[in-house]
C-alpha cells in the first residue's frame, strides 16, 4: 500500500512539473522560461549585480568556501551554475543572478 501511495505521489509530482511548464508556455507571447526571464530582468536592472553578489555569498557559502570568480571563464561558470542549480535546489532567478554576477566579475 505504501509503495502504491509513493508511486502515485511520484507520478503526480512529475505531472505537476509538466503542468507548470504548460502554464508557462500557454501564452505564445509570454517571455521565455524562468532562466531567460530572470536574465532579461537582470540585464535591465543595475541592482541585479548586487543581488547576484549577495546571493552568491549567501548560497554558495552554505556548503563551501567562496571560489574566486576569476577561477573560471564565462562558459565554465554557466555549466557550473547549472550544475549547482540542480545540486543545491537554486531557483531560476537566483541562479541567473549569481551567474550574471560571476560572469561580470571574472
Amino acid at each position: 500500500m505504501t509503495l502504491r501511495f509513493a508511486t502515485a505521489a511520484f507520478a503526480a509530482t512529475l505531472l505537476l512539473g509538466a503542468f507548470s511548464v504548460s502554464a508557462e508556455e500557454a501564452d505564445p507571447e509570454a517571455p521565455a522560461p524562468a532562466t531567460s526571464t530572470a536574465d532579461a530582468t537582470s540585464a535591465l536592472d543595475p541592482m541585479a549585480f548586487v543581488r547576484g553578489a549577495q546571493k552568491w555569498g549567501n548560497t554558495c557559502a552554505r556548503c563551501h568556501a567562496m571560489r574566486d570568480a576569476k577561477d573560471l571563464d564565462d562558459a565554465e561558470w554557466q555549466v557550473v551554475v547549472t550544475h549547482m542549480r540542480a545540486r543545491a535546489g537554486l531557483t531560476a532567478t537566483d541562479s541567473a543572478e549569481i551567474l550574471r554576477f560571476l560572469q561580470q566579475s571574472n
Binding site: 505504501t2 509503495l3 502504491r4 509513493a6 508511486t7 502515485a8 505521489a9 511520484f10 507520478a11 503526480a12 509530482t13 512529475l14 505531472l15 512539473g17 509538466a18 503542468f19 507548470s20 511548464v21 504548460s22 508557462e24 508556455e25 505564445p28 521565455a32 522560461p33 524562468a34 532562466t35 531567460s36 536574465d39 532579461a40 540585464a43 549567501n58 557559502a61 552554505r62 556548503c63 563551501h64 568556501a65 571560489r67 574566486d68 577561477d71 564565462d74 562558459a75 565554465e76 554557466q78 555549466v79 557550473v80 547549472t82 550544475h83 542549480r85 540542480a86 545540486r87 543545491a88 535546489g89 537554486l90 531557483t91 531560476a92 532567478t93 537566483d94 551567474l99 550574471r100 560572469q103
Partner: protein
C-alpha cells in the same frame, strides 16, 4: 509488480505531458550569444572539475600516508536544459592497488522552472552530509563524521529516477526538495547469522524486487538558516553472507530517516548538525533473521578567524549499530589553513570512545593531516 507498472506508466504520462511544452521551450530560448541571455558560447558546453586529496594519520599503532584520492568530475550541458555529470572515485588502496568506482553519473533534464528530472546513479538525497558536504575540499575535517561513510547509518548512492528543484517563498525564504525511486540498498551478513551492514553504493540490480522511495525537503526561512528532513522506505534483502553470495533471500522492510540543520549566526561562525538512521525489519525466513537499526549523528562548529586564511572546527559524533549497541563516540577538533578558497590544509586530532564495529577502525587517538584541492 502492479505498482512498478503504475510507476512506469506514470512517468511515461508525465514525459508525454512535458514533451510538447519542451518543444516550445526550445524555440523560445534566445540565440546563443544574446545579451539578454547569459549564454556566452554554443549550445553544448563542458567543464572538467573535481577534487583530490592526500592524508596522513598518526596513532600509537600506525603512522602512514593513509589516504590518496582523485575524483574527476565532468559536466556537459546542452543549452540550460540538459546536463550530464559524472564523477569517478580513484583511490590508492592500502595494498597498492588502484581502485576506480563510479561515484555518480546522471542525466539531468530541467523540464520545468522548478524541477530537474534526474536519471542514473545519484548521491542519495536522504541526509545532507554525503550529498553536499563529503568532498574533501568541502568537508572541514579530514574524515567523515562517524556513520556517514561506507557501511554506516547514512544511505550513500542510489540508482533510479529523481525529481529535484527549489522555489522561492517570498523575498528571502527558499524551499528545496528531492524525491526519488530507486533499486534500494542490499544487506551484508556476517558470521553467526547477523547482518553486518546496509550496503547503499547504488546497485543496478534490485535483489529484493521492491523499489525504495524517498526524498528530502529543506526549508530556508533566512539565507543563514537551513532545516532539512528526509526519509526513504522500501525493501532490502541479504545478498552476501560472510563474503559469499546469497540468492533469493526474502525481502524485508527498510526505512531511513534523517534531519539536518545549518545555521550561520555570524559571517565567521557556523553550526551544523545531522541525525540519520536506517532500519531493517526482522525476517524469520532469512539467512540472517534479525533486523536492526543503524543510527548516527554529529554536530559541528566552525569559526573563521577574522580575515586570516585560518578556520577552527570542532565536531562531535556518535554511531550505533546492532554490532555496537553501546555506541562509538568521536570528538575531532581541527584547524584549517586556506591556501586558496578551494585548497585546504587540515590538521585534526581525533579521540574515540565507546565500542567500534568490527573492521571499521579502532579507539586509538589519531593525529590527522590532509591536503585537499578542489578544481
Amino acid at each position: 509488480m502492479p505498482s512498478v507498472r503504475c510507476l512506469v506508466l506514470g512517468c511515461a504520462a508525465s514525459f508525454a505531458a512535458a514533451a510538447t511544452p519542451a518543444t516550445v521551450l526550445a524555440q523560445s530560448v534566445p540565440a546563443a550569444g544574446s545579451p539578454v541571455y547569459a549564454r556566452v558560447a554554443g549550445n553544448s558546453l563542458q567543464h572538467l572539475g573535481g577534487y583530490a586529496f592526500v592524508g596522513y594519520a598518526s596513532s600509537d599503532d600506525a603512522e602512514s600516508f593513509d589516504a590518496l584520492g582523485f575524483n574527476p568530475i565532468v559536466h556537459f550541458t546542452y543549452q540550460d536544459r540538459l546536463l550530464f555529470e559524472g564523477e569517478l572515485e580513484v583511490t590508492a588502496g592500502a595494498d597498492g592497488e588502484t581502485e576506480v568506482e563510479l561515484e555518480y553519473g546522471v542525466v539531468e533534464w530541467l523540464f520545468s522552472e522548478n524541477a530537474f528530472l534526474v536519471a542514473g546513479k545519484f548521491l542519495s538525497p536522504v541526509g545532507n552530509f554525503f550529498q553536499q558536504l563529503h568532498p574533501a575540499w568541502i568537508n572541514k575535517l579530514p574524515t567523515a563524521p562517524l556513520g556517514f561513510g561506507h557501511d554506516g547509518a547514512a544511505p550513500l548512492t542510489e540508482v533510479g529516477l529523481q525529481l529535484r528543484g527549489g522555489a522561492a517563498v517570498g523575498e528571502q525564504a527558499r524551499l528545496s526538495y528531492a524525491v526519488y525511486v530507486g533499486n534500494g540498498p542490499e544487506l551484508e551478513g556476517a558470521e553467526e547469522s547477523e547482518i553486518e551492514a546496509i550496503a547503499s553504493e547504488g546497485f543496478t540490480r534490485d535483489a529484493d524486487k521492491k523499489k525504495t522511495f524517498g526524498g528530502r525537503a529543506a526549508w530556508l526561512p533566512l539565507p543563514t538558516l537551513e532545516v532539512g528532513v528526509s526519509g526513504a522506505w522500501g525493501g532490502a534483502a541479504v545478498t552476501t553472507m560472510d563474503g559469499q553470495n546469497v540468492e533469493d533471500d526474502p525481502d524485508r522492510g527498510y526505512a531511513a530517516y534523517g534531519t539536518d540543520l545549518w545555521w550561520r549566526p555570524l559571517k565567521a561562525l557556523e553550526f551544523r548538525g545531522e541525525y540519520i538512521a536506517q532500519q531493517i525489519d526482522d525476517e524469520a525466513a532469512s539467512v540472517a533473521p534479525e533486523g536492526g537499526t543503524w543510527k548516527a549523528w554529529f554536530t559541528q562548529a566552525a569559526w573563521r578567524i577574522g580575515d586570516a586564511p585560518w578556520e577552527l572546527a570542532l565536531r562531535y559524533g556518535e554511531f550505533t549499530s546492532p554490532g555496537n549497541p553501546d555506541g562509538w563516540r568521536q570528538l575531532t577538533p581541527g584547524v584549517i589553513y586556506y591556501i586558496a578558497p578551494q585548497a585546504l590544509a587540515k590538521l585534526a586530532y581525533e579521540s574515540n570512545s565507546g565500542e567500534v564495529p568490527e573492521g571499521m577502525g579502532s579507539l586509538d587517538e589519531r593525529v590527522l593531516l590532509q591536503l585537499a584541492f578542489g578544481f
